[in-house]
Point group: C3
């Protein structure tokens, strides 16, 4: 069993869910009506934060689980926590201004790439 990775998965989902709720709140605040997805920079940034988080989910979650299964539950979960922290930093920065989205993006990208590269190395090692 991979309890720590399961826990980090549920926390990552919860944070992603929060970015979705934030889009609804930005809609109300800026007056952009559904189904429109543009019309106010604050709304568009909130939407891009959610979308970017969504865009990375199919990279993060499979890499996290393959790392956990092939290497270590605890290390996978630890790197997963770094990914969530990067996502929170990205959320705070991008909410203020598009130019401030870099550091958080970099942290989460490094964490995701570490999970991916670790899993790839471990899978290849098992096959040879």
């Amino acid at each position: 069993m991979h309890h720590l990775t399961a826990l980090v998965t549920l926390l990552a989902i919860a944070f992603y869910f929060f970015t979705s709720i934030n889009v609804s709140r930005a809609r109300t605040r800026t007056g952009v009506k559904v189904p429109a997805m543009s019309g106010h920079p604050d709304f568009e940034r909130a939407f891009r934060i959610q979308m970017n988080t969504l865009e990375w989910m199919p990279i993060f979650l499979p890499a996290l689980w393959l790392f956990a299964i092939y290497i270590s539950d605890a290390i996978a979960a630890g790197i997963g926590v770094v990914w969530i922290i990067g996502r929170i930093v990205y959320f705070i920065g991008y909410s203020q201004a598009a130019a401030k989205r870099g550091p958080g993006f970099g942290i989460q990208a490094l964490a995701a790439v570490a999970l991916w590269a670790g899993a790839l190395g471990a899978v290849v090692l098992r096959m040879v």
Copy 2:
């Protein structure tokens, strides 16, 4: 093995696939040419239905499977069926008017939150 959860996963994917086909059909009907993603309210609602279903997939699927693994295949699958029903109600309502998207959204959100909360509780219980 988790046969019922596997079956519900494949049915959920099939319904999500149907929302994608519906976007293509709305494109033809409204004359919005690729790669444009706006230009006619009917097309935009069809696109938002697909997008919203996509946005919930990384919440629904991991929560469904963690619930199935940590608690019960049959209960997970049952709640998963409720999620699909909520998605169908959302599809029908939102296709008619943006104002009618509420009830279906609420049903699928409750089902997803139930899966998430159940999985979280079960994971935490195993760790303590």
Copy 3:
């Protein structure tokens, strides 16, 4: 263990990641500033390529893994490679013109449907 399917999963993620990087490069080349998601046909096509690949991830990955678990790791991985090839053909075609996106889309859709239908058949057979 399903080493081949794990490997194909990591390769599919890597290609999807590449479509994301391509959006950033198209942004720089066409001068479309964040958070805007439209404004130049070349950028919009690059964005649609990434989005369409993202849209198929929750169909492809669960179907791939259920096929691998219920039927065969090697066959799942083989069909998964076809999916990636279809995605590459789609990327090259759609990058040139919207009208050239058909063949690659068809290849990856057939591969995904084969995984889905195979998994469904195998799950149902186990249950009866």
